[in-house]
Amino acid sequence: MKPGRTDRFHVAAIAVPALWLGLFVLVPFAIVAVISLARGADAQPPFALALSWESYRLLLEDILYAEAYGNALRVAATSSVIALLVGYPMAYAISIAPARWRGVLLMLVILPFWTSFLVRIYAWMALLRPTGLINAALQSLGLVDEPLALINNQFAVHLGIVYGYLPFMVLPLYASLEKIDRALPEAAADLGAGPWRVFWTVTLPLSLPGVLAGLLLVFVPAVGEFVIPELLGGPDTPMIGRVLWTEFFSNRDWPVAAALSVSLCLLLVVPVGVLQHMLASRKQGRGAP
């Protein structure tokens, strides 16, 4: 018989990971919350424990932070939609490919996610610079006289996010599209609907759970992104992750950095909750069709 829960091994199997998670995930949360209420101090480390709302008041009052939040949300939202427009045709094409190719085609989409993220963004710097490959090509073809401003602006940040998180968009879209019963679009076609009408009235509505999951999977990491706005963005592209980094490393204002962390987490609670709910209901087989 299977022994009871009191067995030493069973206790250890739960206790060891639980202790680690408690010490390095739960406790850090609490410490960030505590330090977000501390006061900045000229000390080492640069704060003095207190119960002060000063950092949060600063976040609300200084327009810089509001801009960083607004910009991060806006950039993450537009990038998710662009990623959807790029990713949907890809996912759709994979889902109607011959079955024996689908695995390879999908693997080719996932692989870049496991490829060095930093290097992938770095690669775009080499392409987008005024003396980069794209501008060099455009100029030698005589299409432009002056190098185009492709980097250190909002355009490059959007491009970087779409590029970096495209796999997150294609995967759930494919999962949704692949589950659609082929008989449904075929029936619509048999009844006289043209290909576009079949797509708009049958395929697209049936794939909406994948659309929503994909949008969230791109949006959530994009909001707190640091590497992309730092390397591809310019002075006009503040984002929360980048502001947090600056507060911590350049301004050495730990309480404000902690308050930014807390507010960033609060901002992500709703989208992450929706995502979690969708994944859980999909597991139980009542979410996606």
């Binding site: 022994p3 408690g22 406790v27 989409v109 692989l111 590497v227 911590f248 490393f249």
Partner: protein, 266 residues
């Protein structure tokens, strides 16, 4: 079924978008010229200079050591977590256990980095803690153990519990069942998890920048600080090596994870 050409073109363009930048980076890392965007001839000179760059070599050794140790811890703790979630059914605070495990997957890296650093600083106040190798290892293990847990949990649900139950019925203690029956059957998943944890650690810039101490610089940190000073052919070569190594390990992990353990009869 009709195969619409537009869709095929979109798929091809999508793959080109995903792969061309990396391929161009690798090709141009063999460019002789100091100018990164003008091709003047094939040369491995930047790789040679890289190998003579003591700062890069130190960072490479540190990165590899941190990746190896943190991946090993992540496999032990993440493996146990996946096992517990798959086999123990309901236990008190299971929801909290699962939630804490998922947090590093959804948390922005800057938040993970800052919260771990503040924790290390607090520990330092109480018992004294030098930031560097040790804090990097703990941070990276925490970051990647969730990935190992996901892989192990998925593999566990495909394993027949009858094997473990038979061992229990024959009188083996739980620890013995775990190490002589469960772990051998999980071997491919554990190996794949280790490789993925290794690549995650090797590639991490943000969390490492927060939790490291003076004198401990990892490879991504070297790339990042050089990039801020402008592109250089040496960084191109370094980035090319990093991307090739990480990609090979990820492909290997995917392949290993598809293997069936010799001990798995199902």
């Amino acid at each position: 079924m009709r195969r619409p050409l537009g869709l095929l073109a979109a798929l091809g363009a999508g793959y080109a978008f995903l792969y061309l930048p990396i391929l161009l980076l690798i090709v141009f890392s063999f460019n002789e010229s100091r100018l990164v965007s003008v091709w003047t001839g094939f040369s491995t000179r930047w790789y040679g200079e890289l190998l003579r760059n003591a700062r890069v070599l130190d960072a490479a050794w540190l990165s590899l050591a941190v990746a190896a140790v943190s991946a090993t811890i992540a496999v032990v703790i993440g493996g146990l977590s996946g096992f517990v979630l798959a086999r123990y059914g309901r236990f008190s605070f299971r929801w909290l256990f699962a939630a804490l495990l998922a947090v590093p997957l959804v948390m922005p890296e800057v938040v993970t980095g800052l919260s771990l650093l503040l924790t290390f600083v607090s520990i330092d106040r109480v018992v004294g803690l030098e930031r560097g190798f040790g804090t990097l290892v703990v941070a990276h293990a925490t970051l990647s153990l969730a990935f190992v847990a996901v892989i192990v949990q998925a593999r566990m649900s495909g394993l027949d519990p009858a094997m473990e139950e038979a061992a229990y019925d024959l009188g083996a203690r739980p620890a013995k069942v775990f190490f002589t029956v469960t772990v051998p059957m999980l071997a491919p998943a554990l190996a794949a998890g280790w490789l993925l944890a290794f690549t995650l650690s090797l590639d991490d810039l943000v969390v490492a920048s927060f939790v490291t101490g003076p004198g401990a610089t990892t490879l991504p940190m070297v790339i990042f600080s050089s990039v801020r000073l402008g592109l250089s052919p040496q960084v191109n070569a370094l980035a090319a090596i990093l991307v090739i190594v990480v990609t090979c390990l990820a492909v290997l992990a995917a392949w290993v994870n598809r293997q069936r353990s010799a001990f798995d009869p199902s």
